[in-house]
Structure formats: structure tokens, C-alpha cells
């Protein structure tokens, strides 16, 4: 199916270019026939790219090893589940995946944009089409997934064992969805700039898209952490790897945008800032792709590198210059409507929140690029590893955590001293109490104590917000507390969903702080021998080596070491860690042996067992035993963040209809209100 695939790519390129021309021409001249052609071009691009995707999947599933991509990333014995994900296991396929998803997002934007915001659509189509065209041309010029080999190998090289993990099936698509969907808000922002319609409407149009993008990116980052934790085997989930950093950067700037956008909605301020945040987030997402694809900075994600990196560099620089040039030309149209009323107000606290988010983004970017910078300035390449990032970013992160608690307690527009006292008394007391309690309990890591203490403070503010909100509704409207709670959240989904996200972030921070107490040991055990490790919670864990078993699985030869776990002398279960030698369809080994870890998770700590290998082919086994405190809370905190995001995004206006029913003249009004809405 490579001929069809190639043709489909060329069609997609030409149609996308046509769509771009029609979009811009139709938008600037206001001609409906050109606009309709642009819309159709968007749909047609999507259709052509989907045909290309189907062609590639066809080649993958039929194991057409004459296709270079298929031979590189699959083998005859690759499980079906992972054959799907071979689409984005390599560079070329992920470019195709990227372009297709972008086209799909463009189509969704065209279909779901409400009538009010239709004016922007021709330009949106134009921008999206240009980006799609770029990706497709990069594929056709430098990384064509349909390229054929001059010969046909008997079997493919198979998929990297580290990618043969459920986390890796879902992590890249989620991350890509996050990265790619930023293009839609960016396109709306550029559409607003180009069409000079810079009133509040563009903001409404892009806010939801930014949320979508933020949510996917959050899920993608969390899944990436989970994958790193269960698959890479070093017992952590975040290593400040350049690729991880690249995914964090747009997340940070989008989070900043989601906060500062409220200031623009409520007060008409920060227009310039918000636009530049959106443009910046998009550029950072392209920058992330560039980092991942070019191998400029070495990283564990090296399986995705190749020569298209410099395409991205040119594209990145070109679009940065172009978009900021357009932005600069429209600056006079972007003046603030109102002024700040008080230094102590929610608006002001959002400004500092943005300062910290963008500051952290800058420091992560700075650290990621510093090796290149250092080589250019002082001629020596330096390594910027986790110690560097932790030193620079942990204090900033803690400041941000504090602001997470402080911000919501300050009223919009103005806050006065007695109010602040009343707002802060309980949460501050709770935070201090938690800190003292931990000190008394013997915790001696200052940063961890600070993190837990601040976390308690923030959780207390969230609880207080919910409690006071419910009480206020209870008093004002006489609602029962359960109803008041439901309505409070239902009618202020953004505010209270946001608080739920805050609570999730606190859990994440607490879990991160828990990693300061990670303990580990290596041991070489004969069957029956055991090693012990004392956990930060005071338990004594005993690991008894039971033996090694060997068996064959579908595409691998497995050697499994089994360990019996006992906590404080009481047996709690058995963990297995594997050495896997992957083989191709002919039984020839592929890749170096990989390691599968054994994990036992509970609310307090994870027991993490890694089988390093055996001594001289006997059952005497070298293990690494690690106790990772609070890791469960990372995943739980992640769920809470996603839940909060979903609450914020939950569509529809639900409440008004319910309210009118209660008002007693529902029937008459319902029909009228529909008419008025249509007008």
C-alpha cells in the first residue's frame, strides 16, 4: 500500500497548500466561495492523511518488510497490540501521526466552532493548513514512512523492548494530542491578529481549546512519568531529560495562560500578555518536537531521532519571527480596558502567578539549552543534569505552591487587611501545625518539611473555599448542604474545578517531596538468602530470594527472579522481576536484554525490585531493592488533576434551564429563550 500512501501524502500536501491560500484569501476578501473551498480543503486534507495512516497500518499489519519503516519497528512476532503503536514508534511514522491528528483537530475546530466565532475560521484553516503542509513536506523530503528497501528482509528488527509497554502505547498519543492541539488556540490567536477582530471573542474561542490541549498534555506527561517509572527501571519518574523538559515547557506557559485569561475576561487587562503566552506555548511545542527529533541534546528518547531536526529548526525560527512580527504590528489595538484597583487583589496575585510559571518555564528552557550555550560561549560542553535542575527549580516550585494557596484567598479587585486575616488564619495555622508535627516526628529534610507544610496550607485553603462557598449558598439561597455543594461546583465549574486541580497539584508536590526519602540497596542473593532495608516509615522490609525461573513468551525469552517480601517479619507477598531477551521470528536475539521491574505499591511506599542479572549462570542473583515513598500519590494526584480539568471543561450551560424551572414560569420562557438565542 505504499504507492497509495505516497499518493495520499502528495494529495494532502497540495490540498493543504490550497486550503491555506483559500483560507487567507477568503478571510481577507470575505468571499464565501473561497471560504467554503478552504473548509472543504481542511476536510480533504484530513481524509487524505487518514488514507495514508491506513496504508501505513496496512503495511505494518501485513508485515511488509520491504518497507523500511515496517522492517525497522516490527517483527513477525510482535504482538498485535503493539503493532498499532508501531505507527508512532519511529520518527517517520510519528510525523505522519502528528500531521493526521493536527488535520483532525483542524476539522473538529471547523465543525464545532460556534456561529459567533465563525469569522475567524478561514484564517484558522489557513494557519492549520500551513502547519500540516510543513509536516507533510518534512515527511516527503526527509522522512518518508513509505520508503522501500532494495531488498526484503526475512524478518524485521522488532520494536524496542522499552516501547513494548502499555504505558508507551498511550503516552505518546496523549502527549502528541497535547502538543498538537495547541496549534488550534494558536491559529485562533493568529486569526484574531490577522483579522483585527481583537475584542473578547477570540479569547472565548481559544480558551476551551487551550483547556483541551492542557488536559491532554497533563495526561501525556503523567503517563510518561508512569512509563518511565515502570519501564526504565531506575526507580524514579522524572529525570529532567531534555524531552521531558520539552513537554513541561508548553504545559507551564499554558497553565500561566489559563490563569491570566481570567484577568482578561473579568477586567479586560493583559491582552498583549495572553496573546504572547499562546504564541509562545505553540512555539515551545514545536521546539519540543525539534528537541525530540533532532538529537541536538542527547536524551533517553533517542529512538525518535533523525535528520528532519533542521527542518524543524527552520520552521521554528521562521514561524517565531513571522508570528511575533504580526503580533507587534497589532499591538496598538491591544490596550487594556481597565486598571488595577489594588496591589492586594486576585488580579495582582495572578500576575505573580504568571511571573512564576513563566519564570520556571524560562529556567527549564535555560537549563535545557545551557549545554549548547556553554559550548558556544566558553567552548566546553557541560552536563546539566538533575542536580542542576533541582537546585534551580525546587525553590521556584515551592514558591509557586505557596502562591497556589495564597491566590484563591484574595478577593478580586481589592482585599483589605481584616479580611486577609480572616481568610489566612486557618490555613496558615494548619500549615504550621503540619510542619511542626513533621519536625517533632523526626523529619529532618528542610525542603521536604517545607513542601509538606505548604501542601497542607494549600489543601486547607481549598477545603476552606469549598466550606465557605457551601455555607454562603446555604445562607443566601437556603439550599441544603449537599445541594449547595453540587450547585457551587456545577455553577462555578471553572473556579471549583480549578481548586480540584490545585488539590491534585498539592498531592503531586507531596509525592515529589517523598522522593527525598528514597532508600535503596543492592544485594547478591542465593536462593533462600535475604536482604533487609529500613523504610523511612520505620518498617523493616525483608527480601528473600526464592529462585530463578526461565520460560519463553511470544517474542522473548524470559528469566525471572522471584523475591518474597516481608514487612516487619510478616510475609506480604511475592514480587517478580524479569530479564527479557527479545528475539525475532527466527529466534535470533534482537536488542540488548531488557529488565522488567517488580513493584508493590501501597499508600505509604512502593517496593521496587530490579533483577540486575545472575552470577556466572547460576541462581545466585544480583538485585536492587528500592523503597520509594509516596509514589502512589503521584498517580492519585494525577487522577485528581485530570478530574479537576474535566470539571472545568465540562460543556454546556446546564444550570440556567434548571433555575428557570424553579422560577415558576418555565414553560413560557423556555420557548422564548430558545428563540432569542437563535437570533
Amino acid at each position: 500500500m505504499t504507492v497509495l500512501g505516497n499518493l495520499a501524502l502528495w494529495i494532502a500536501l497540495l490540498v493543504a497548500l490550497w486550503g491555506a491560500v483559500m483560507g487567507f484569501a477568503g478571510g481577507s476578501q470575505g468571499r464565501p466561495e473561497l471560504q467554503l473551498s478552504a473548509r472543504r480543503a481542511m476536510f480533504a486534507t484530513t481524509a487524505a492523511l487518514l488514507v495514508a495512516v491506513v496504508s501505513l497500518e496496512w503495511a505494518l499489519f501485513t508485515r511488509d518488510f520491504n518497507v523500511e519503516y515496517v522492517a525497522s519497528y516490527t517483527s513477525r512476532n510482535l504482538p498485535t497490540f503493539y503493532t498499532w503503536s508501531a505507527l508512532y514508534a519511529g520518527q517517520k511514522g510519528s510525523l505522519l501521526f502528528w500531521a493526521s491528528v493536527l488535520a483532525i483537530f483542524g476539522t473538529l475546530a471547523v465543525v464545532f466552532t460556534s456561529a459567533r466565532h465563525r469569522v475567524y475560521l478561514p484564517y484558522v484553516i489557513g494557519i492549520v493548513s500551513i502547519v500540516v503542509a510543513f509536516f507533510v513536506s518534512a515527511m516527503l523530503a526527509a522522512a518518508n514512512p513509505f520508503e522501500r528497501l532494495p531488498f526484503t528482509p526475512v524478518d524485521g528488527r522488532g520494536m524496542n523492548p522499552q516501547l513494548q509497554n502499555p504505558g508507551m502505547v498511550f503516552h505518546p498519543p496523549m502527549l502528541y494530542l497535547g502538543y498538537i492541539s495547541i496549534t488550534i488556540p494558536f491559529a485562533f490567536a493568529m486569526a484574531a491578529l490577522l483579522s483585527k477582530r481583537l475584542d473578547v471573542e477570540w479569547l472565548v474561542a481559544i480558551r476551551k481549546w487551550t483547556l483541551v490541549s492542557w488536559l491532554f498534555l497533563s495526561i501525556g506527561i503523567l503517563l510518561g512519568m508512569w512509563w518511565a517509572y515502570v519501564e526504565l527501571g531506575w526507580g524514579g519518574y522524572w529525570a529532567w531529560d531534555p524531552v521531558e523538559n520539552a513537554s513541561l515547557l508548553p504545559w507551564l506557559t499554558m497553565t500561566a495562560f489559563l490563569h491570566s485569561v481570567m484577568v482578561q475576561e473579568k477586567r479586560g487587562m493583559l491582552k498583549k500578555w495572553n496573546l504572547s503566552l499562546i504564541i509562545g506555548s505553540w512555539l515551545l511545542s514545536i521546539f519540543g518536537t525539534f528537541i525530540t527529533r533532532s538529537g541536538v541534546i542527547s536524551s533517553v528518547h533517542s529512538f525518535a531521532q533523525s535528520g528532519v531536526g533542521y527542518f524543524f529548526l527552520v520552521f521554528l525560527v521562521g514561524s517565531a519571527v513571522l508570528s511575533f512580527w504580526i503580533y507587534a504590528r497589532r499591538l496598538p489595538l491591544l490596550t487594556a480596558e481597565t486598571r488595577l484597583e489594588s496591589m492586594v487583589s486576585r488580579e495582582a496575585s495572578f500576575l505573580f502567578n504568571n511571573l512564576l510559571f513563566v519564570g520556571i518555564a524560562f529556567s527549564v528552557l535555560w537549563g535545557t539549552l545551557f549545554p549548547i550555550l556553554s559550548e558556544a560561549v566558553q567552548g566546553t560542553k557541560v552536563t546539566v543534569g538533575p542536580p542542576f535542575f533541582n537546585q534551580v527549580n525546587v525553590p521556584l516550585g515551592l514558591a509557586l505552591l505557596a502562591l497556589t494557596g495564597i491566590g484563591p484567598l484574595i478577593a478580586w479587585r481589592r482585599a483589605s487587611l481584616p479580611n486577609l486575616q480572616r481568610q489566612f488564619a486557618m490555613p496558615v495555622a494548619a500549615g504550621l501545625f503540619a510542619g511542626l508535627a513533621l519536625l517533632v516526628a523526626g523529619m529532618r529534610q528542610p525542603l521536604a518539611v517545607l513542601a509538606f507544610s505548604l501542601g497542607t496550607f494549600v489543601l486547607a485553603t481549598v477545603a476552606q473555599e469549598f466550606f465557605r462557598g457551601i455555607s454562603a449558598r446555604h445562607r443566601q439561597y437556603g439550599e441544603g448542604r449537599a445541594l449547595a455543594a453540587a450547585r457551587l461546583i456545577g455553577r462555578n465549574r471553572r473556579r471549583y474545578g480549578g481548586y480540584v486541580v490545585h488539590a491534585g497539584i498539592v498531592l503531586l508536590f507531596a509525592a515529589f517531596a517523598g522522593m527525598a526519602f528514597k532508600t535503596e540497596t543492592q544485594a547478591t542473593l542465593r536462593p533462600g538468602e535475604s536482604a533487609t532495608l529500613r523504610s523511612p516509615f520505620g518498617h523493616e522490609w525483608t527480601f528473600t530470594h526464592l529462585g530463578v525461573s526461565q520460560y519463553d513468551a511470544l517474542n522473548r525469552l524470559v528469566t525471572a527472579g522471584t523475591v518474597e517480601l516481608a514487612r516487619d517479619g510478616r510475609r506480604v507477598g511475592i514480587l517478580k522481576s524479569e530479564k527479557r531477551q527479545h528475539v525475532d521470528g527466527l529466534g535470533r536475539p534482537t536488542f540488548e536484554p531488557s529488565t522488567e521491574v517488580g513493584i508493590r505499591s501501597d499508600l505509604r511506599e512502593d517496593v521496587y525490585v530490579v533483577m540486575a542479572g545472575v552470577v556466572n549462570g547460576t541462581e545466585q542473583t544480583v538485585y536492587r531493592f528500592t523503597l520509594n515513598p509516596l509514589v502512589w500519590w503521584v498517580w492519585f494526584g494525577g487522577y485528581v488533576v485530570v478530574l479537576g480539568g474535566v470539571i472545568v471543561m465540562w460543556p454546556g450551560g446546564g444550570p440556567p434551564a434548571v433555575r428557570r424551572t424553579q422560577a415558576g414560569y418555565a414553560v413560557k420562557l423556555a420557548s422564548q429563550s430558545q428563540e432569542t438565542r437563535k437570533s
Binding site: P32, A115, G652
Partner: protein, 162 residues
């Protein structure tokens, strides 16, 4: 196999090009884009001055109830946002139609002796039986009845036109 693929590819190309080019080739057939799915029901989406001002009023009320705003600040802000809301209501009485209750409620009539009537669409005063005139405006400062179209209050002299 290969020939079939080429045929399929060419068919795809022709089909898509036809689909995309039709509007340009036959512009007469194109009607202005019809309104599609409208999700405008969401008041959160609405950023008209009216909604923003109303939302601000609601919020300061709620902020006072939850103890974030002091009473003095509340009074001050309430005055400002009431003014903004009124200005927005006056600017866009027709556009304010999304509030259906208003569209359904005609202006309340006022009895010169007994004031504004509680009944909707009252024609006679339910206390004295007098025929009601359309409501006249009152000065918000001194309460004097204003002539139609007055710019200043005839009693206390304060500017009353917005």
C-alpha cells in the same frame, strides 16, 4: 496490486480536488455558511459588558458572603458595578434579550399615589383603582418624579441622564 493502488490514489485525488474546487468553480451555488451547531447557551462564554457587569455583581456578593470582601469595599464596588451594569443594560436593551424574563415582563406601571405595582401588566392600581400611566422615572438621589427626557432632576439638580 500496484495498478489497483494507483487507480485508488488517482480516484482519491480526483474526488478530493473536485470536492475542494467546486465552490470556486461554481461560486453561484454557494450560499453564505449556514449556522451550524451553536453552543451559545453557556453564560460562562458570554463576555458582553452586561454579563461581565452582572457577573461582577454576583461575585462581589459571593465574596462578601464568604468573607473575602469587607463591607466597606463591598459597598464601594457594588456602587461601581451597579453603575456599569445599568449602563450596559441601557446600551443594549435589545441585545439584552437573552434574559427572557425581561422580554416577558413589560415595564411595571406606577400609581402616582401608591407607587410601583406588584402585579405584572397591571392597568389599574389595585389599591385606589386609578388608571396607571406608564412608569415615569424617579431621581435616584431625592426620589422626585422626573419629566420625560430630563437630564437633571428638577428637585435636587443632580445629573440623571446616563
Amino acid at each position: 496490486m500496484m495498478a489497483a493502488e494507483v487507480v485508488a490514489g488517482v480516484a482519491l485525488a480526483l474526488g478530493l480536488v473536485w470536492y475542494v474546487m467546486i465552490p470556486v468553480l461554481r461560486p453561484a451555488a454557494v450560499r453564505p455558511a449556514a449556522g451550524g451547531a451553536d453552543d451559545g447557551a453557556d453564560e460562562v462564554e458570554d463576555l458582553s459588558p452586561r454579563t461581565v457587569a452582572l457577573r461582577a455583581l454576583k461575585e462581589i456578593e459571593f465574596d462578601r458572603a464568604t468573607g473575602k470582601l469587607s463591607d466597606a469595599d463591598y459597598a464601594d464596588l457594588k456602587q461601581r458595578y451597579t453603575a456599569e451594569a445599568l449602563a450596559a443594560l441601557r446600551d443594549a436593551p435589545a441585545a439584552a434579550a437573552p434574559s427572557p424574563s425581561l422580554a416577558a415582563t413589560p415595564p411595571r406601571a406606577v400609581c402616582p399615589d401608591h407607587g410601583s405595582r406588584p402585579e405584572d401588566e397591571a392597568v389599574f392600581c389595585s389599591q385606589c383603582g386609578r388608571r396607571l400611566a406608564a412608569a415615569g422615572a424617579y431621581c435616584a438621589r431625592c426620589g422626585a418624579t422626573l419629566e420625560a427626557g430630563a437630564t437633571y432632576c428638577n428637585s435636587c439638580g443632580v445629573r440623571v441622564a446616563a
